[in-house]
Amino acid sequence: MRRFPDKSGHFGIFGGRYVSETLMPALKELEEVYRQIDSSFHQQFDYYAKNYVGRPTPLYFAERLTQKLGGAKIYLKREDLCHTGAHKVNNTLGQCLLAKRMGKPRVIAETGAGQHGVATATMCALLDLECVVYMGEEDIRRQSLNVFRMKLLGAQVVSVTSGTQTLKDAMNEALRDWVTNVRTTHYCIGTVAGPHPYPMIVRDFQLIIGRETKKQLKQLKEKNPDYLIACIGGGSNAMGLFYPYLKDSSVKFIGVEAAGEGVTTGKHAVSIGAGRVGVLHGNKTYLLQDKNGQILPTHSISAGLDYPGVGPEHSFFKETGRATYVSVTDKEALAGFKLLTETEGIIPALESAHAIAYLSKMIRRTNKDEVIVVNLSGRGDKDMNTVANAMGVKLE
């Protein structure tokens, strides 16, 4: 089996390095430093993963949910129990350690829901790095709690007022910062997108999710899962779960995109399911765009999925048929959110609620001797305002 990405950072026709010349040397440097990391780096990573992040996260048999839905056995990979409340910290731990190795004292990041921003600010506090987080004005409004957390952690949060004021614009602004300060700054991208080597590096730091899952299922004397289900914005939590199972062809990968108010309304973030191939933010991938190649505004109740693109390796999985991509609406996600909260006493992030929502739809087609693992990528505390709003409840 060939390994991807290839030397120039491509996954088939996807991926690559579509950036301005100013950034090319920084990408090369990052790639070189990454390729040279040795056992001392891995030791450091493992040390913090265990003692600071709290890994391995549990693989939890959701017995009541399994009974209620009446199909395959459901396991939840509890990334919501990571320090900071989401899988994002796996990646920021790795990248901030890399920044240290490169001698770059300043780290910048983009954030949508604020989870990646919080995870970056956290690692920067721990490793004594200066931190600047770019966040769309619209997202700052709907995720004010995370903004406050980042500030407490010592990060500067820069409000992005250009374009649609969401994740893609935050990424544009972070890229502008990076072009300007590239010599002193590491850009900590939060998902498996962006120019090479980011999709590879972020995947590699996240695949700890799937590796643990494999080991934990073995310990439980459980067979290989029949389905892996995860939500997809850029796709890092999904890639982290999927990747270690790449060669296990009986394991079906399902990525769940955010259909917002519905794919036909135009207010959604279904990049793979409803987009076309294009180039944005340094990589070639499926994008939501008009017929002239202008990027379209997106919508999702979950700020973390509100992005018009997707990691290039997911586009590759779609093209090769390795993974299936589906979508659920805001409404369905909210129902998934309620379902998990009420049956298991676990309040999921709205992002992860998309995976639960699809699980509840597809479970009818499964039988009791099958096994499903759902990646519970984050916890829902940050979404209380949004959910209360959607339910018509006013919080003080």
């Binding site: 301005s20 890229l175 300007t180 294009g278 944005l280 002239n292 190649g293 202008q294």
Partner: protein, 265 residues
Amino acid sequence: MGSITKKFKELKRRGKKALIPFITAGDPSLTVTEKLVYTLEESGADLIELGIPFSDPMADGPVIQAASERALKNKVTLWDVLSLVSRIRKKSQVPLLLMGYYNPIFVMGLERFAVKAGQAGVDAVLIVDLPPEEAGDLRKELKKNKIDLVHLLAPTSDEERIKKAVRSASGFIYYVSLTGITGARLTVSDEIRQQIEKIRQSTALPVAVGFGISKPEQARHIADGADGVVVGSALVRIIASEGKKASLFPKAGRFISSLRKAIDR
């Protein structure tokens, strides 16, 4: 020989440097852009850069971002930009460089874009987010249609990067004079001159310098060591404040004349 190469040769023979203004096509309207091209040419521009509007101009500062947004509000597409070039070609032969981001071109189709651009009379193309490594397919199509592909080089470019860029480029090299987005403040440094010298060791292509040049004094200083200077944000700022007023043309013209005078001194 392309008309850009010819232009640089002619300038060199006369001991002059190229003055290259940038404007975004369709800001504030396609009609104004067309008239503005003639004004810029009459005021001393040697080559004109036309920006293709894009929804996510990641390498541009607020001034050019806003220009792009204004043009997109007018629903200006890449097709419109190519028609604009056709119209300009009926009245002017000033060398034209299209500058933009890759996605609109990729979506149009590389072959279709190159053929249409050739027919319209485009002389060169510069794609900000298309480094030489990814430019192979487009370069091939442009070459068939006798259009130059211009590459950027930056202060961060080492010798290997310089060699890659000059091998892939034709027409000229666009040297970004500081790390940063368009329109940021210029830090005039010896570094620019040293970098240009380094580029010249690898290529006979002319080197134009841009990003952050807004005053005649700066233009003159930069022109000393380079073959041309690009002026973008400062001109786009005038367009932003004048809009569709008739006063735009004399104001833009005077600004370009002042730069012309400064670099000819």
